[in-house]
Symmetry: C2
Amino acid sequence: MNVADAIKMKRAVRKFLDKPLTDDVVTTILNAGRRSQSSKNNQAWQFIAIRDKQILKDLSGCGEWAGHIAGAALCVAILTPDPSEKFQIMFDAGQAAAFMQLAAWELGVGSVPASLYEFEKTRAILGFPAEWHLRIALSFGYAADEEKLSAMPKKGGRVTLDEVVHWEKW
Amino acid sequence: MNVADAIKMKRAVRKFLDKPLTDDVVTTILNAGRRSQSSKNNQAWQFIAIRDKQILKDLSGCGEWAGHIAGAALCVAILTPDPSEKFQIMFDAGQAAAFMQLAAWELGVGSVPASLYEFEKTRAILGFPAEWHLRIALSFGYAADEEKLSAMPKKGGRVTLDEVVHWEKW
């Protein structure tokens, strides 16, 4: 799948088949995040790859819209330094998240990010140290609705180019 | 170019040929950003696409490591709501930035992000309103060093998978 098609066709997948991802697929996704660029190449992230159903279920209760994690075949928790330290931290996490999700899409694997607001609860569940912080985790899995993979972009799903682009100045 | 290769081969390009990008290429890059996913699909971004050499030069002075903007064929300033409002804002900007840069790479166009620290100066140069904020801009152009496009990943350029991934828990 070329990059342009992946970007054009990718859509959020929140409902997943109860079908595991092979280790190869999981490794490809994680490597895409690992290879992502970052500010000064500092790679200020750690990933926790979760397939254990109980942990998935526990994490799914840590954000209002995070329920999809319970049904994911894989969840990747993106740990970062304190996001309030500098604006690059979540920007770089976003770049890594985009790389992982596009790499997954190419393999026919859907995904969606979840915001996690229960900071201390996620820390207790995953046991990561104080210097790391978790704000966003990605759910991955095969789409329950297989048509999602080949569906054309929804009308009105994004604003038009004219609505989002300015030329030379505002 | 498939997604996996784009992710594997992409590297930062900071020195560009003095060769313009066609309107088609510029539109493809901007559309990739426009199509990117965002928290609750709120698309909380505006892009300023800059090719004017004086504006590029002016912007290049707004960050310690932003000098490459002066030589870019295109700069895309990613405007967001106040990044301190919520952690999703820069995360989503990062996703859009990754989409634009991978789309460009597929077309043989290099890129690199720049952090811009002179907030009021960028606002004066580009004339955007108070509710929008600029922290990161992307430089795009054909690489002065064409070998960058086909070079294998540098040894030691990224930490190993074992250094960045935890399984199930920390």
